[in-house]
Structures are given as structure tokens and as C-alpha cells.
């Protein structure tokens, strides 16, 4: 008899949701976390879209440790001195059933893991899984850990060990790991009083703001962000790993430069850095996803590169939670059927294909590369802000130029060919449309 029915590696959103789903189906579940508590290793600073939790934890928003409910979403395009801001506000997002939220992941992950414990899973912290155990036929049958006497056997292992998953690599599911597929997320958490944050961002109570930024990354392909917590703000950049390395720039310098931008400085002024952190992000979407199923093994969350970086949609936690939940359900069903082969566990990928998890990624498969392309990164911000600058500038007594003329001249000034503009527009329309 095995030590457990299902071992879940990593108590992040994917792991905890996998453990909840599996434990609720009556399985013996062990949830292993390398940190001293779930979320302790996390540096996340984004917006969580927890709608998928409706299925798993009804009325989750009554107990989840949320900082602010995001009621304003802004997309900002930065040139060297200018900024175009597209801002949408909906107070309805600040009421149940809510839309997105900011949260401290050490709190959120811990809360989610406690839901798994309440469902019957055993949570083992401060334990690092060092490898996969295999039976005589080469099927995964457990994990080894860094603890003495640390081997643990199970019918199914669900690897939710995050980006750069060692378990998925060890299982041979990541044949072509490529640094171009990853970005480095770097974040500063700045302490500001709640009153100041409310005033600067035009919100009240626990209303929050999400600002995504194109440009402002010192010439390194990527983007920036600002998120409001109750009495801190997260400001940071996401940088294409290969470009950051090639340009030999320091991420902390890039954040400092972003914070000095005339459009950003008034928002972050006076903020004291209380935390600095960095983390890899699997950003290439469908193109980098590994095979997610093997005999006795499932991969979920960031480990499976289930992160959507599609410009206006930047989501990861919801994909992690959904994939974890489906992995837990599929593993339980396979154990009930006494068949944990890859063929039996394929119900997991079927479920991903049927739902938003892979359908969104398929639909937007070309968008991550478009967003991180040199043209979108370096030429379009100057082009867009140049157009808007001239549209709103009043040069009396010179007559106002026509918009078409402005667009044509600014496009040429930015070095964008018409054919390139059309091609990118079509790619965007195909993805977003």
C-alpha cells in the first residue's frame, strides 16, 4: 500500500486547489511545501481573478484575505516624457461576486492551503521535494524529499512546483527549455498610508487599482505595473530574460527609472521600500507548455506554463487554481478506476482543453510574442504617444493638422512600415477579436 493516494508538490494556488479537489473525493492527500508556510516563498504582486473558486469554495470572498478589490483598470503607454492612459472604472467590481483583487500571496496561499487541510489533506511544510520515485516499469510512484527517511509513495503525483519545474524537467516533459520563453518579474513593495493611496488613485475603502504599463522599461522588452494594496503599493517591471541579459542592465535600476518617470513619480512619491523581490514568469503561453501528463504524474499551474501574458490580459493565479482543481479531480477519477497511466490521466488535459484554461491560451497564442516584440516594445509607444501629443497640442495660429496626416507622419517618425502596422493589427485582431 502506498503512503498516500495523491502527493501534491507545492502549496501554491495550483497545489492547494488540487489538494482540495482530491481530498474532497475521499483520497489520502499529502500536500508538500518547501517554505515554512504556504506562500512564504512567494513574491507575486498582481491581480488575482478568483472566479474559478466559485466551484471549489462557495462564498470564498467572505473569508479570503483580500487587500483591495480592483475597480479601476488602466493601461498606460509611456514614452520618454509622455504617457497615454486608458482607464476604466466599475464600482460593480467592488461588490460581490467581484472581479479581481489584490492580495498578499503569503496570506492568500496560506488561506487556500488551510482550505485543503480542512478538506482532509495533510500539509507538510519546510520540506523540499528533490525528485520523483519510479517503479519497475518506470512509472512515477512517489517523491523523494530532503528530509531523513524522506521517500513517500503515492498512486499519483501532481507537480505544482512552480515555474522552472524541476519535477517536470526530471520527468522529461520540458524537452526544449528556452530562456526566451521566460520573463523576470521584479517588484518593489512601497509603504504608503491608506489615506494617501486612496487620494492618489481615486479610490475608497477597499477599492483597488491595477495599472499595466507598456514602455518605461529602459529599452528592455517587457512592461511595468502598479497595484494597490491597503497600505502599500506594488510597483515593478516584467523583463524579457534574454534581452535583460544581453543588455546587461540591472532590474533594480530599471524600476528606479520607471519610478522617476513624470507619470509614475507622483503615484509612488514618498513610498518607503519594504520589500524587494524577483521571480521568473513563464510568459510564452502555448508555445512553451510541456506535456502535462505522464504515467502517475500530472503537471499544473506555473509548472505547466499556464500563465497568460497577453497585454490587456495578464493572468496566472486563476489558471493555476483551475488547472490544479482539474488535476485533483482527474487524479482521483484515475485512482477510482485503478488506472493511473498517462492514458487514463489524459482526462486532465481534456478538461483543460474544454475550459478557458487552454482555450484562452489557444486563442491568444500569438499575442505574447507580439506584445514582447521589438516593434511593439520600442516603436509603438513613441508612435502612439506622438500621435496623441500632436492631436491635443494647440499650435495656433497654425491650423490643426488632420488625424490621418498625424498618424502617417508619426508612424514614419517611429520607423514603422505600413505593412508592419497592418500585420500587427491583424495579429492583434485575430487574437483579441
Amino acid at each position: 500500500m502506498t503512503d498516500a493516494d495523491i502527493i501534491v508538490v507545492g502549496a501554491g494556488p495550483a497545489g492547494s486547489c488540487a489538494a482540495i479537489a482530491a481530498a474532497r473525493s475521499g483520497k489520502r492527500v499529502v500536500l508538500i511545501e518547501r517554505g515554512p508556510f504556504p506562500g512564504s516563498k512567494n513574491m507575486y504582486g498582481g491581480v488575482i481573478y478568483p472566479r474559478i473558486l466559485d466551484e471549489l469554495i462557495p462564498q470564498w470572498f467572505e473569508t479570503a484575505p483580500i487587500q483591495r478589490w480592483v475597480i479601476r483598470r488602466s493601461t498606460m503607454v509611456l514614452s520618454d516624457t509622455g504617457a497615454l492612459n486608458i482607464d476604466y472604472r466599475s464600482n460593480a467590481w467592488g461588490q460581490a461576486p467581484y472581479n479581481g483583487a489584490t492580495a498578499y500571496r503569503p496570506d492568500f496561499d496560506n488561506w487556500l492551503a488551510q482550505q485543503a487541510v480542512a478538506a482532509g489533506a495533510d500539509l507538510i511544510c519546510s520540506t523540499t521535494v528533490t525528485g520523483l520515485l519510479r517503479d519497475d516499469q518506470g512509472r512515477v510512484c512517489g517523491v523523494s524529499t530532503d528530509r531523513p527517511d524522506g521517500d513517500l509513495t503515492a498512486s499519483v503525483v501532481i507537480a505544482c512546483d512552480g515555474v522552472n519545474s524541476f519535477l517536470a524537467k526530471q520527468a522529461g516533459l520540458y524537452p526544449n527549455a528556452n530562456a526566451d520563453n521566460y520573463t523576470l518579474g521584479v517588484k518593489e513593495t512601497l509603504s504608503l498610508s491608506k489615506h494617501i493611496i486612496d487620494e492618489r488613485f481615486g479610490v475608497r475603502d477597499n477599492q483597488g487599482v491595477d495599472i499595466e504599463i507598456l514602455g518605461g522599461t529602459s529599452g528592455v522588452n517587457g512592461g511595468g505595473f502598479i497595484y494597490t494594496n491597503l497600505d502599500t503599493i506594488a510597483v515593478g517591471v516584467v523583463l524579457k530574460l534574454s534581452k535583460l541579459s544581453a543588455q546587461k542592465k540591472r532590474p533594480e535600476d530599471i524600476i528606479a527609472e520607471l519610478k522617476r518617470h513624470p507619470a509614475i513619480a507622483p503615484l509612488v512619491e514618498g513610498g518607503e521600500v519594504v520589500e524587494y523581490s524577483a521571480h521568473l514568469i513563464p510568459e510564452a503561453g502555448l508555445e512553451m507548455m510541456p506535456k502535462m501528463v505522464a504515467d502517475g504524474l500530472l503537471i499544473a499551474g506555473d509548472a505547466a506554463a499556464l500563465c497568460l501574458a497577453a497585454g490587456i490580459w495578464l493572468e496566472g493565479v486563476n489558471f493555476a487554481m483551475a488547472s490544479g482543481m482539474y488535476a485533483g479531480q482527474s487524479a482521483s477519477a484515475a485512482i477510482d478506476a485503478s488506472n493511473v497511466s498517462a492514458a487514463s490521466l489524459k482526462s486532465y488535459t481534456n478538461r483543460l482543453n474544454e475550459t478557458f484554461v487552454l482555450q484562452d491560451h489557444k486563442k491568444l497564442r500569438k499575442i505574447p510574442h507580439l506584445v514582447l516584440s521589438d516593434r511593439v516594445q520600442h516603436r509603438y509607444p513613441a508612435f502612439v504617444t506622438g500621435v496623441v501629443e500632436r492631436m491635443f497640442r494647440v499650435d495656433n495660429p497654425t491650423p490643426k493638422p488632420g488625424v490621418r496626416r498625424i498618424v502617417r507622419e508619426e508612424r514614419k517618425k517611429a520607423g514603422i512600415k505600413l505593412s508592419e502596422l497592418v500585420r500587427d493589427a491583424l495579429t492583434g485582431l485575430k487574437g483579441f477579436g
Binding site: P106, D122, I124, T145, R147, P148, D149, G150
Partner: protein, 268 residues
């Protein structure tokens, strides 16, 4: 027999004080960890059971489960207000450690408390105490006496022979606590923890007063005016009337000195 280990659960939130301490950062000190390790090593050589105790709310059970996962046999939580007097906590701990032949404590806790609980435990049990140990040499035979080195003020050391029941407190540098096995970690999460509600009685200790020397009678200064009297007190060149040089045998001289001291009020 039982070897008791008292560990202090401290809800430590780091250098920044917080109004809402977070139990995720709670734990026990390296000194307490060393105490647990020494107890486990002695128990491995004997048939003793290791009983680990802590005082505090339900959240404190996390450190007990940690201790169980590392090899302790039994755990007791004293349900008591942690702001209670150290003597009250000590008496509560003693009440839960019947037949303990040895009590191990850390020399300090994570909140750097008074460090007085081990002494109160020793007083309550009426056994010896060896506190602030910086080195130990355990014998092959777990029941044999062993030597320990104790830190004294001024960098001095005291070597002690521990031969009977005693309360020992150790520094964290003496030994490193073992890592728990995976199986023990899993089973510890389900192991029963006994909960005892504290009695709240203080430990009675002998009444002690700080040392205070007897008052010395000082004669009033001589002089008709204030200036003269001040001069009498402060003028070192003038004679105060005290002091006399005598040439005599030592025994006679000693008698004269004692008589003078009595006369001047320095002796009764």
C-alpha cells in the same frame, strides 16, 4: 522515567512590532532547540520518555508538533495567559511533568524574557539547577553523572558535575537540533497533545532582601558659624578629631582600632 523539555513558544513578528502578531512566524529559540536535542540524545541511551511542554494558546501546539516530529514522545500544552508571572508558568509546567528525573530548558527565548522559569522550576521541584550551560559531555551510560560548563560573569567558566535530578538550561550554540524525518512529520500532525489548564498559583520562594549596609553615625561638624562647619566637613588639611597614630603590638593595636571604630559609630 521522564525527561522533560520546556520550550517557550514565542509569537515573534520580527524586529517590527505588530499589533496583530502573526502565528506563522512563531517558533522557539535555538536555545530551546538545543535543550530538546540534548534530551533526545539522553533518551536514546536510556529507556526514558521525552516529554515536551510549552505554555500558550492553541497556536503554540505547532512547536509541540515540531518537537514530536523530531522524536519527543509526548507533548503537553499549558493553557495559560502568557503574560502571567514566570513563577506561575513554572508551577504550571511542574504540575504537568510528574516523575521527571531531568528538566531541560533553553537559556533564552526568542523574546528574550527574564530567563527565570528554569530557576522557578528547580525551586518548585526542590532539585539542583545548572543554568546557562555552554558545553556538555554526555556519558555512554545515560544514568551516569556528567560534566557541564557554565558561563559566569566576566568571561569566567564554572565546571559542574551533574549527578542527580536537575534543571538544566543550555545555550543554543551547544548543539544543533536534528531534522525531523518525513514519516515523523506526518504522524506528528495527528498525535494527541494533552492540554492542561493552568492553576495560576505562584511558586513560594524564600523571602530575600537586597543587601543593605548598616547606617553609620556621622558626628555633627563643629563650629559656631555655617562657614566654619562647612570648612570642618570639607577641609582635608584640618584634623577631624578622628585618627591617632599608635605604636603597639598587633593584638593591642587591633583592640584600640575596634574601640575607636565603636566610638566613632562604625561598629555597634
Amino acid at each position: 522515567m521522564t525527561i522533560a523539555v520546556c520550550i517557550k513558544w514565542v509569537n515573534y513578528s520580527g524586529p517590527v512590532e505588530s499589533d496583530t502578531p502573526d502565528e506563522r512566524f512563531a517558533g522557539f529559540s535555538f536555545a530551546d532547540q538545543a535543550a530538546l536535542e540534548w534530551a533526545l540524545r539522553i533518551a536514546e541511551k536510556s529507556a526514558d520518555e521525552v516529554l515536551v511542554l510549552t505554555a500558550g494558546p492553541v497556536g503554540a501546539e505547532a512547536v509541540l508538533r515540531d518537537a514530536l516530529s523530531r522524536g519527543a514522545h509526548r507533548a503537553v500544552r499549558i493553557d495559560i495567559d502568557l503574560t502571567s508571572d514566570s513563577s506561575v508558568i513554572a508551577r504550571s509546567l511542574v504540575g504537568a511533568m510528574s516523575q521527571a528525573r531531568m528538566v531541560w530548558c533553553g537559556d533564552y527565548s526568542n523574546d528574550r524574557g527574564s530567563g527565570s522559569v528554569p530557576s522557578f522550576i528547580a525551586a518548585e521541584l526542590n532539585i539542583d539547577q545548572a543554568l546557562g550551560l555552554v558545553a556538555l559531555e554526555l556519558p555512554e551510560n545515560a544514568n551516569a553523572s556528567f560534566t557541564a560548563v557554565r558561563r559566569l560573569d566576566g568571561g569566567r567558566r564554572e565546571q559542574l558535575l551533574i549527578s542527580g535530578p536537575a534543571v538544566l538550561s543550555v545555550e543554543g550554540s551547544t548543539i544543533r537540533l536534528r531534522r525531523a524525518s518525513l514519516k515523523n512529520t506526518m504522524s506528528a500532525s495527528k498525535q494527541e497533545i494533552q492540554v492542561i489548564t493552568a492553576t495560576g498559583d505562584r511558586v513560594e520562594t524564600p523571602a530575600l532582601r537586597p543587601y543593605r549596609p548598616r547606617p553609620r553615625v556621622t558626628l555633627a561638624p563643629i563650629g559656631l558659624t555655617a562657614l566654619e562647619r562647612v570648612k570642618h566637613i570639607t577641609d582635608t588639611s584640618s584634623s577631624k578629631g578622628h585618627g591617632e597614630t599608635v605604636h603597639a603590638e598587633p593584638s593591642v593595636a587591633a583592640t584600640l582600632i575596634l574601640e575607636s571604630l565603636r566610638k566613632w559609630g562604625y561598629l555597634p
